[in-house]
């Protein structure tokens, strides 16, 4: 049940450079989002029917559960569950994506044992072809170039 590490090169059916096209992220635009401006420590948890954006870290032992997407502007080291009511299109995005366990809809994954990889860049986890896949995420991209 380990992650599939889909690298940049694997992400062929988008723009080729690895960046998602605008339409890829269009579904994510939703009014129903809360902003959490603090670090979640061990034992703390957030549940929300919608999207969650966290300005801070999610430490080991903390839990984030959303029916929509989860975005962490910091290190995500705890347990995260996006699309908790079964939405397979939900994504998890983090500045540093190192979760104890990552769940999307009814998929549960954990990082491989004895491996401590720090890619040093923001990453995005989503379900592709029925498998939770992690890919590099380049913030900005087209959004700055094209009008939304």
């Amino acid at each position: 049940m380990a992650y599939q590490k889909g690298g940049i090169q694997k992400n062929t059916h988008s723009t080729g450079s690895g960046q998602g096209t605008l339409s890829d992220y269009e579904d994510m635009v939703d009014e129903n989002t809360i902003l959490v401006q603090r670090t979640l420590r061990s034992g703390q948890s957030i549940r929300y029917a919608g999207n969650i954006v966290i300005l801070g870290d999610v430490n080991p032992g903390a839990e984030v559960t959303a029916t929509g997407n989860v975005i962490v502007m910091g290190a995500l080291r705890g347990v995260v569950h996006a699309g908790a009511s079964g939405d397979e299109k939900a994504v998890v995005m983090a500045f540093r994506l190192q979760p104890t366990q990552l769940r999307i809809a009814n998929h549960i994954t954990r990082p491989p044992d004895n491996e401590n990889v720090d890619p040093g860049l923001p990453e995005l986890a989503r379900i592709r072809d029925g498998v939770v896949t992690i890919e590099a995420f380049y913030p900005g991209g087209e959004r700055q170039g094209k009008p939304v």
Partner: protein, 264 residues
């Protein structure tokens, strides 16, 4: 029918969780079916010490509140087939379960496992009362410090009041050199105060820190003294007679060598 043993201490940081992990691992390595139950809700550590944190989906509170079946919450160890963990919840607190639920849980686990080892939280409040509710035997862990011994004494009193007679004692983190210099309480001093049976003595050992941080158990390490001490404890728990380890490091090299080849 299994046996339910609670590992407790009163004081925090004396090594309850480490002891639970090592006793459980040791029993499983001998071929017994073992389940470790972490009752430290809100401050769980046993999963981290065993290196199983990232496998947790359901926990103790999910089981007692009927959110999942017992079997779903049990996590199998990475290495030993006979070792299982029932993790505590982290986002709840001690009031999330009650002693009656623990009694029922222990009764259910007894049907399937040879040993049910319960890791008790520090303190004497509800967490402690939950942990001891289903237990048949108790092991008290202490260190050679006045404060830890004082708390162990209090705990032994509470265990006796709860009808857990004759708890066994583990003295952890002893430094033979300091004891010899008279700077640390000796095993005899502690037994003198607490007046309970000694289950074992574990010497202070860096290997414990190293192995614990790696999510492994020192009991499987054949070379360390603490590993040997834990293996002795495990054998005593199963009813074997094992002499207490000799901590005398003072003896010379030749004496040791002679002992090794058996000419005393």
């Amino acid at each position: 029918m299994g046996e339910v043993i609670v590992i407790t201490s009163g004081k925090g940081g004396v090594g309850k969780t480490t002891t639970t992990a090592n006793i459980g691992t040791g029993l499983a390595a001998m071929g017994y079916k073992v389940v470790l139950v972490d009752t430290d809700i809100g401050l769980r550590n046993l999963d981290v010490v065993l290196g199983l944190e990232n496998r947790i989906v359901y926990d103790l509170v999910d089981v007692t509140s009927g959110n999942c079946r017992l079997r779903q919450a049990l996590i199998k160890d990475k290495k030993l087939d006979g070792l299982h963990l029932l993790p505590a919840a982290q986002t709840k607190d001690k009031t999330a379960i009650n002693p009656e639920q623990m009694r029922q849980l222990c009764a259910d686990l007894k049907k399937e496992f040879d040993y049910i080892i319960i890791d008790c939280p520090a303190g004497i409040e509800q967490g402690f009362r939950n942990a001891i509710a289903g237990a048949e035997k108790a092991v008290v862990v202490t260190t050679p410090e006045v404060s830890a011994v004082r708390d162990a004494d209090r705990i032994i009193g509470l265990l006796e009041a709860a009808d857990l007679r004759e708890p066994k004692l583990i003295i952890n983190r002893i430094r033979p050199k300091m004891v010899r210099q008279g700077d640390m309480m000796s095993i005899d001093d502690i037994i003198d105060i607490l007046a309970v049976d000694l289950l074992g003595v574990i010497p202070e050992d860096e290997m414990i820190v190293i192995m614990t941080n790696r999510g492994e158990s020192v009991v499987l390490d054949q070379n360390s003294r603490s590993g040997q001490a834990y293996r002795n404890i495990v054998r005593r728990l199963t009813g074997e007679e094992v002499p207490v380890m000799n901590f005398d490091e003072n003896e010379g090299f030749f004496k040791k060598l002679k002992k090794m080849i058996g000419i005393k």
